[in-house]
Symmetry: C2
Subunit: 338 residues, 2 copies
């Protein structure tokens, strides 16, 4: 028997059932939580089915983690900041789940070199769960799957969930529908001011964090702070009760991190005072319903054998102006209905 | 017989058939072109069917109008600029179709007061077709229907098509898929610099036009020009052969308008030299195919009697956490499949 044959004959990896995984998640078993997220991210129909069974059960458990989105351009220092903020969160006795953008993924455009070294201070701790999220064709590393991973972390009882995302276009709208508070990280002098403003992410930020304000950067940073404050003044309020702050931070010097965390806590306290968090969760679930519906609808359409059989031909006919896009669409819809 | 009864008994308005409308469009009958656009914009299934028959026939006629998108915040002076540019275009002997944002519509946030006075110099002319586009729930006044209206104007033989849009979020992606050249209008000192950059419209602009650079505005304008030029330098090139210009214009003083038109012509000449326009048209048709397909798919779903019967109940169950969004989506998909 060759080693390959031997390998093939090995017992399949332990494949826990829905019961086991759900019980594991509820009991804080991180391996089971990881497995569930893997199922959620899988493209296989059987996995999807299982993932939804798990999610159904997990949703039954009422939880209310603080969900925080952390966005910013590549190079804005997101990992380093998350590590510092995470440390602050843990100091206050809360547990923490981090859904981080996978730096090896194409879309995140993060540094692959930094991969191993990322968040090494946090990754060893028992009260922290770190999970890289694959971008899987979604810009900015956020997809409807991220929402599902958040729900699973919540069911596992984590108090705070940090969701890292790269600030590009569509991902902001998505992240906005999943988290409660959005921190925008900015590195002044890197062209970030323009990029950040340009990409429409200032509008959805609840707080702006200027990173790496140490050494030479200190003077640029305070000018940038004034500029961001002026820019924020011009934007409509996101919440009537909330004033967006601009924080000067340095992860190396541990400067301003505590203030950011206190800012976040103040926001949640205002939300809870007004009983807004529960309504927000309801609206988020509703949004997820329609996201999932439309995703499935499109998937069903584009994987239907009848559509697959004719789609290439129709596209070619449209490209060569033999068929109008309207007749083409009609033909495809007719095929789908069969 | 009361006047109301009399009204009801009147003959229905002349309802021309597809043949008549198509022939009318091809012969430059503006009334028929208007009717066709009205059919395109209608929500009624019978109208939609007729509209697509007309579009099918119109597409058969190969045309290549210069399609120009004109975007900018409300108050940036779009109508006045379009009037001045339109005049310049007509002077060069070309015919012109303008798809303007309806200022009375809610989303455009344009001035209703200015409605009657808009483009009065152009609206009387035989070589100009002006059509207000309803925003119909789409931000910025651009919808897939705008693309269809463009196709109809093209079939009617107009040489240049100006599409006005209000620069807000999604509409940029849409307009980008319909036109060849995008002019971004900016009014300095109005907070437009920030707004324009913020909304991601600088990235899709092929040329920036600073408006109202007369009187007191003249000095602010030249500072703004330098700023925009610097900002544009930081953006990736949209076309490798095209350098984005920033123009100082005043519609009142007829300043810079001719230069903008020459800039546009230079762009199209570069496109034609490289045979890029034809490929662009093909890709635009392909994009329209999938836009129409997904629109129809969603429409079919959300108007299906089986879905309508259960959607409210399911949404409520999701909101009250009785049902997960995943099970909810599955139930709706099962209902749809029936």
């Amino acid at each position: 028997m060759t080693s390959e044959e031997h390998y093939k004959k090995r017992k399949p990896l332990h494949d826990p059932d829905v019961e086991t995984i759900v019980a594991g998640i509820m009991n804080g078993n991180r391996q089971m939580l990881s497995r569930a997220i893997t199922l959620v991210e899988s493209q296989k129909p059987a996995h999807e089915h299982k993932a939804h069974e798990i999610l159904d059960r997990c949703l039954a458990k009422k939880t209310a983690a603080l969900r925080i989105g952390i966005t910013g351009s590549p190079g804005a220092g997101k990992s380093t900041f998350i590590e510092a903020l995470g440390d602050e969160i843990l100091k206050s006795g809360l547990t923490l789940a981090i859904l981080a953008v996978d730096p090896s993924s194409h879309h995140s455009k993060g540094s692959i070199l930094g991969d191993k070294a990322r968040m090494e201070k946090l990754s060893g701790r028992q009260d922290v769960f770190i999970r890289p999220t694959p971008s899987s064709g979604y810009l900015g590393g956020t997809s409807p799957r991220t929402h599902e991973a958040i729900l699973l972390c919540e069911a596992a009882g984590y108090d705070v969930i940090l969701v890292e995302t790269v600030g590009v276009g569509q991902s902001e709208v998505l992240i906005e529908s999943m988290v409660d508070f959005i921190l925008l990280l900015m590195l002044p002098g890197s062209g970030d001011e323009l990029q950040g403003i340009k990409r429409g992410i200032m509008e959805i930020a609840d707080s702006v964090v200027i990173t790496k304000t140490d050494g030479d950067q200190a003077s640029i940073a305070s000018v940038a702070k004034a500029e961001f404050e002026a820019a924020l003044m011009m934007l409509p309020a996101k919440h009537p009760f909330w004033h967006r702050n601009v924080h000067l931070t340095s992860a190396i010097e541990n400067k301003g991190i505590k203030e950011v965390w206190q800012d976040i806590l103040a926001f949640f306290s205002e939300m809870q005072k007004r009983s807004l968090l529960e309504e927000r969760r309801r609206q988020q679930l509703k949004q997820l319903l329609y996201t999932v519906v439309e995703e499935r609808l499109k998937k069903e359409f584009y994987t239907s054998p009848e559509v697959l059989q004719s789609i290439e031909r129709i596209e070619e006919q449209v490209l060569s102006a033999e068929l109008s896009p309207f007749s083409g669409a009609k033909t495809l819809m007719d095929a789908f209905r069969k």
